[in-house]
């Protein structure tokens, strides 16, 4: 079965919190994964004594495990790909125009 690197949504209503997990593609989103390799908090936060208003998002990631799972063929989802590309584990995906829309059948 296909291995996926994907997000599992936890947290609360209007306060999402994701585990970055390695799981079989056909298992349920929040079922027990093979491994949790990190977390992703998508809600931007300010620093404690910050006055500039700059926001940041917190991610915890085990980069060595992420590289390993990519190496053995785990397929990251779009979001995880984006996150991993920030730390240069994967190349950044160029945004392709039009290709996102499914092609009509011939």
């Amino acid at each position: 079965m296909v291995l996926k690197l994907r997000l599992a949504r936890f947290g609360r209503t209007n306060a999402p919190f994701y585990n970055i997990v390695v799981a079989h593609a056909r298992t349920a989103r929040n079922s027990k994964p093979l491994e949790v390799i990190g977390t992703y908090d998508p809600i931007p936060k300010k620093d404690t004594y910050d006055t500039t208003g700059a926001m940041h998002k917190d991610i915890k990631l085990d980069t060595t495990r992420a590289k390993y799972w990519i190496g053995v063929g785990a397929q990251p989802t779009e979001t995880v790909w984006r996150l991993l590309s920030y730390v240069n584990i994967l190349p950044a995906k160029a945004k392709s125009k039009g290709s996102a829309a499914p092609k009509p059948k011939a």
């Binding site: 306060a15 809600i43 931007p44 936060k45 300010k46 404690t48 004594y49």
Partner: protein, 453 residues
């Protein structure tokens, strides 16, 4: 049918002591001197505890549900002992364990001073046996609450008012209104402050909460006069418009006009009346025999005030760091303070001291203070009818009887902010929890919440 009784917060019959600055409360507090303790010997232990619990809970967190307080209650009471480094440098502790384990002799409570003249008290001699009033710490956990800390810092005239300030978003903790992922407001009156937390209340709220209320009679009179005037004006205006416009538009315009006119008239009327009140007040002070200010004296004092202002100006030119507050009394005292402190170091400053002292004979200093204060009140603070409190601001009645700031807070009144330094503690002969009850009552309340026997 049973008739429902009105709940009286400040009941003169039961005389509960409440966390407010109310005059009823002051009376109840004063007459509780004899108190319920007389009744205690005729009660069972349970009755005693029950009475103590109900008395103390009327004051300590009366706006908090009993369950909640029960959960906060802690049987661990914090106390400190002050260790004197001088004593510790002299003794290594073995003197207390010498002999049969309790010292060869009682360590001295008094020591001869170095010069050999007179006994000097040793600050924290472990031999001094002063009891630590642990029982007075029963309600210490409540003092951690944000609303109660605001009340203790004298920013609100009652614990309930402090609570309202928090709920209405007038309070920040560590400079933050927002928390919880930057979403909800910090509007939790039950937030338990951690040591080092800085809380700050909106200045206007504090002025409103602790200031004297507006003069109701004055407001009513101003309202009445303003209404009359506004109606007359609006009528005139309405008649003029009547000729030009149709009937349907007329009604709405008159009403809005009326309102506007009323607002204007009311503001000006109120301002005028406040000024008149001030004038009266000023006259009363000037005429009052206790001040004994003759015209000549006043004149000379005014000249003195001018001189002092000039002196301060001079000092500021020399030293940039002398701040200008605009308040003559403060300026003067600060200047005197500063100059008195460092007169030996800086010849320039000592010169200024002499200058000031020459201008300020000791005999007239008190008189001068009165005049300056009097002038200050009327010069610096103006009447502002838009404020919800009486202007110029003065503290509300009976505030001074309740004015104290416990040691676990450090307050800066100018910015209405305070730091919660640490949790309240007991030390020999002293407890930091502000409680109006005697140790016996607090002890019984503690026993109630221990839930044993």
């Amino acid at each position: 049918m049973k008739i429902r009784r009105l709940f009286k917060y400040h009941s003169l019959k039961k005389q509960p002591i409440r966390p407010t600055w109310n005059k009823y409360n002051l009376y109840n507090l004063a007459s509780a001197r004899r108190g319920h303790t007389n009744r205690l010997p005729f009660m069972t232990f349970f009755q005693q505890k029950w009475l103590a619990k109900s008395m103390t809970r009327a004051y300590h967190g009366e706006h908090i549900k009993e369950r909640k307080w029960q959960r906060m209650f802690s049987r661990r009471l914090q106390a400190v002992v002050n260790m004197d480094p001088k004593y510790m440098a002299k003794y290594n502790g073995s003197e207390q364990a010498a002999g049969r384990g309790s010292g060869l002799k009682e360590p001295p409570a008094y020591e001869m001073s170095e010069s050999g003249q007179g006994a000097k008290r040793v600050i924290a001699n472990p031999g001094r046996k002063v009891a630590t009033p642990y029982e007075q710490m029963t309600f210490a956990p409540l003092e951690r609450r944000l609303d109660i800390a605001i009340f203790r810092a004298l920013f609100a005239s009652s614990a309930r008012q402090a609570r309202q300030m928090v709920v209405h978003g007038a309070v920040t903790v560590n400079g933050k209104k927002a928390c919880h992922h930057g979403k909800s407001l910090m509007k939790h009156p039950g937030y338990l402050l951690n040591p080092g937390d800085l809380f700050q209340v909106d200045v206007e709220r504090v002025l409103y909460a602790t200031g004297a209320p507006k003069d109701k009679k004055l407001i009513a009179a101003a309202m009445k006069a303003a209404k009359k005037e506004a109606e007359e004006k609006a009528q005139e205006a309405g008649e003029e418009e009547d000729a030009e416009e149709g009937e349907d538009a007329q009604k709405s315009t008159t009403s809005s006009m009326k309102e506007k006119k009323f607002q204007e008239a009311w503001t000006s009327k109120y301002e005028l009346m406040e000024l008149q009140r001030l004038l009266k007040h000023a006259k009363r002070i000037a005429d009052s025999p206790s001040h004994q200010l003759t015209a000549n004296r006043k004149k000379s004092l005014r000249a003195l005030k001018r001189d002092i202002k000039a002196a301060i100006e001079q000092a500021r030119r020399r030293d940039e760091s002398v701040p200008v507050t605009g308040n003559v009394v403060e300026d003067l005292t600060m200047l005197l303070d500063r100059l008195a402190l460092s007169s030996s170091e800086d010849p320039q400053k000592s010169q200024a001291v002499r200058e000031l002292k020459r201008q300020l004979p000791r005999s007239s200093r008190e008189m001068l203070k009165k005049v300056i204060e009097y002038n200050d009140e009327h010069d610096s603070t103006e009447v502002d009818p838009s404020k919800p409190y009486m202007t110029p601001w003065r503290p509300r009645n009976y505030m001074s009887a309740f004015a104290f700031i416990p040691r676990y807070l450090e307050v800066n009144q100018n910015i209405c902010a305070a730091v919660y330094l640490r949790h309240p503690v007991a030390r020999p002969g002293e407890s930091e929890v502000p409680s109006p009850f005697s140790p016996i009552i607090n002890q019984l309340a503690f026993n109630w919440y221990l839930r044993r026997g």
